[in-house]
């Protein structure tokens, strides 16, 4: 497979995954905005912008934070490189370049999403439309992933899912960080009512609330939720699940073994951050520190993958 093709496929799935995360983040903000906001807490839209890595860009354009502006910036703004619109449009451009590595279904899925978001972009919307946009985005990404299953199980397929899980590992880690570092002003609040409420909102936004209920007995506690999102191999958004899939898809590549061994160091370091840890050890170390560390490890692995396969 051409390096350029592999790189394009890798980024198509990263952009699609990112579009989903952006939409889900807005949903977190939206749900939180429906609850009374006690004094001393960060504004939920502020948190959403930080988590989306979009705060700097947003403030060059707007002076104040409100739902309409944040929604527009994160969903539709062409100037925001991570907006849902930018992600889908970049994924579609990449898909155009690798049409031979794609089945017609996969192309049609992305092309259709692009055509639809162009239409949505030009419509007037109200506050209440936000959940619909989120739902629409999730549907589009699911359609893309479903159509990717029609691909030949060659390197192209594995690069697509490698991109998916690298992006998801990064995004899940950032979402966790928002919860702990951004939303709660001090550690004293951990375990309080508001703390639990925020966890539950996060679970709901990730469509994982029911899954969590099935996986754990008894009360919702932050320890259980941290375990769920970091170490639980059954949760499709957990860091551990993502790492296992990254390892799996790397091993499936038909590339020469020395290529894989080149990236072994990066892989080993990422793997150790879920294999050798317990929830207790993570919390003791500090969740924020753990997550920051994890994100930089993923970024190192991503660099290694790009250098060794695409350059």
């Amino acid at each position: 497979m051409l390096s350029r093709t592999a790189e394009n496929l890798y980024w198509i799935s990263r952009y699609m995954e990112r579009a989903e995360t952006m939409a889900r983040l807005l949903d977190v903000g939206y749900r939180m905005s429906l609850f009374p906001n006690p004094k001393g807490y960060h504004n939920e839209w502020d948190s959403v912008l930080s988590a989306a890595g979009a705060a700097q860009g947003y403030f060059t354009k707007y002076n104040e934070i409100n739902q309409e502006n944040v929604e527009d910036y994160i969903f539709f703004d062409e100037e925001n490189p991570s907006s849902v619109y930018s992600c889908i449009s970049k994924a579609r451009n990449n898909a155009l370049l690798v049409r031979t590595a794609f089945t017609p279904e996969a192309w049609v899925a992305i092309n259709k999403s692009y055509k639809e978001i162009l239409e949505l972009k030009n419509k007037k919307f109200t506050r209440a439309d936000l959940p619909n946009f989120t739902e629409w985005t999730i549907q589009q990404v699911n359609m893309f992933r479903g159509s990717a299953n029609s691909l030949l199980r060659n390197d192209g397929y594995h690069f697509i899912f490698l991109g998916t899980f690298i992006e998801r590992a990064d995004n899940s880690a950032r979402l966790l960080d928002v919860k702990y570092f951004v939303l709660l002003p001090t550690a004293d609040y951990i375990g309080g009512n508001l703390d639990n409420l925020q966890w539950i909102i996060l679970l709901r936004s990730l469509s994982s609330f029911r899954a969590f209920r099935w996986a754990y007995d008894g009360d919702v506690t932050s320890t259980k939720i941290a375990h769920f999102f970091i170490l639980n191999n059954d949760c499709s958004r957990s860091l551990s699940f993502c790492i296992n899939n990254i390892v799996y898809h790397l091993n499936c590549l038909k590339c020469s073994p020395d290529k894989i061994s080149d990236i072994y160091s990066g892989l080993k370091s990422v793997h150790s951050s879920v294999k050798d840890e317990t929830v207790e050890s993570i919390i003791e170390y500090g969740l924020h520190e753990y997550v920051t560390n994890f994100v930089s490890k993923i970024s190192f692995l991503d660099n290694q993958i790009q250098n060794h396969f695409f350059r």
Binding site: M1, L2, S3, R4, R99, P104, C255, F310
Partner: protein, 468 residues
């Protein structure tokens, strides 16, 4: 005018009987619905073309539901004639870049060839694998009578349109499967396989594998034939590469893959000669591969078609093709050329100017139906304007009689009506020389028009060759 469906006594020709009764069963609602279906299909897969004078907007070529049918008997002649031509054109290319026997024999004046920009000096004394320069030749044919087929031009570089031949058949089989039960239509869908076999049979001498690595080189997604590039590489299961994927090392050509560099044996290039190699041709080319010509000349890779193959389809060389057939093959030409006057000759220019209202005058280097004058369809002003241009640059023009192109039944506003057609079959020249039984039929959708080009109101049809 020869009507392909009706004989002179207004009887339906035998090979159109089935299609005619099928047409009678279709209400205009069904026709509209099927037209819509075909159009949506072409839009969805993105099979588009660009229009020159329209800011390069992308359009879908109109597709006519009624197939153009050729009998096995009619096809046999076309096939023999095209194969003969394809062999002669390749023999000419080898001769013209090597010993030049045809010039020595005084059959073609050599200055006609050497002066042309499509004549590639750097190809002199070089011989590509199997001495084949042009492995894919599209021959444009027109019909004027029952057994009268004429060659309008040859396309020896990178003829396009074959994706329409395949997609038109695909959509017809999808929409009207019953038609293919009642008619025995020869298949065209194995064309990509045959193309791949042809390209593999042209591996260069340094290729040490029994399965040569073939790639398709595209200028990129902005090219008007990009869809065809993706379609053909997909159907052949080969990589579609751009210049940035390729590099030259130790006189070999490689592509960058996730496995590391992979050696390439055959390049089916869909970019023009001048952009092929910035070191050898246009130095500003960003879509070419620096050093690829050196690899080619030392037998590390084959480039299909060969650089300089375009000299064989030059309009000034065209008139000599029947002579080439006699000279190289010792055969009588099976398909005739259209009578052609070269305006650079004084006596012929005089004839053309005197008879211009009856003639078609074309630019020697023009294509796509642009820069031509159709005498009988032009106003006095247009004719006098063109005559002035002709007199100032006679070397730039040729003239041909206005041919009464055959007409084929076509759906216009849901009614059947005759429209003029041409035909481009695709000939493959490798270890075997073969013609795919079918081709691209273009149809002039405007009433009475002779211009079949898609840029000027032309459409396309599925082209059938019957098995018996």
């Amino acid at each position: 005018m020869f009507d392909e469906m009706y004989s002179d006594d207004a009887q339906i020709r035998k090979h159109y009987l089935q299609v005619n009764s099928w047409l009678r069963t279709m209400s205009s609602t069904v026709i509209s619905q099927k037209n819509f279906e075909a159009e949506s299909h072409f839009k969805r897969i993105g099979i588009t073309f660009s229009v020159k004078d329209d800011d390069m907007t992308e359009r879908i070529i109109p597709f006519d539901l009624i197939p153009r049918i050729l009998t096995n008997y009619e096809w046999a002649k076309i096939e023999k004639g095209v194969l003969q031509r394809a062999k002669a054109l390749n023999a000419f290319l080898h001769d013209t870049y090597n010993s030049g026997e045809i010039f020595k024999a005084g059959i073609i004046p050599k200055e006609i060839v050497y002066k042309k920009s499509s004549y590639d000096q750097s190809m002199i004394n070089f011989s590509p694998p199997r001495k084949i320069y042009s492995p894919i030749i599209g021959v444009d044919l027109v019909r004027t009578g029952k057994d009268e087929f004429y060659v309008l031009e040859d396309n020896c570089r990178t003829p396009s349109g074959v994706s329409y031949m395949l997609e038109n058949r695909e959509i017809m089989m999808k929409m009207f499967p019953d038609l293919f039960h009642t008619n025995r239509v020869l298949r065209v869908d194995d064309y990509p396989t045959r193309l791949l076999q042809t390209l593999m049979s042209l591996a260069p001498k340094k290729c040490d594998s029994s399965i040569p690595t073939v790639v398709l080189l595209t200028p990129g997604h902005l090219n008007s034939a990009y869809y065809e590039h993706t379609f053909l590489s997909d159907q052949m299961g080969i990589e579609m590469v751009e210049s940035q994927d390729l590099f030259v090392e130790n006189d070999l050509l490689y592509m960058k893959t996730v496995d590391g560099p992979k050696k390439i044996d055959v390049v089916y290039r869909r970019i023009d000669d001048e952009f092929l190699d910035p070191l050898c041709y246009n130095p500003d080319s960003v879509i070419g591969v620096p050093g690829i010509t050196q690899v080619y000349k030392t037998g590390g890779v084959n480039i299909c078609s060969a650089p300089g193959a375009g000299i064989a389809d030059d309009k000034a060389i065209y008139i000599f093709v029947p002579e080439m057939i006699k000279f190289y093959l010792g055969e009588t030409p099976i398909l005739d050329n259209v009578e052609t006057w070269r305006c650079e000759r004084d006596d012929e220019l005089t004839y053309v100017l005197e008879n211009i209202e009856k003639l078609v005058v074309k630019e020697v280097d023009g294509s796509g139906g642009y820069g031509m004058l159709i005498g009988p369809k032009s106003t006095k002003d247009q004719i006098s304007e063109f005559s002035t241009k002709l007199k100032s640059n006679p070397r730039g023009y040729i003239a041909q009689p206005t041919l009464d192109l055959s007409s084929s039944p076509t759906l216009i506003d849901n009614e059947v009506s005759g429209r003029r057609v041409d035909l481009r079959p695709f000939c493959l020249v490798g270890e075997k020389v073969q013609l795919c039984p079918g081709g691209l039929t273009r149809v002039a959708l405007n009433k009475g028009s002779y211009v079949v080009n898609s840029s000027q109101g032309g459409g396309v049809k599925d082209t059938w060759v019957l098995a018996d």
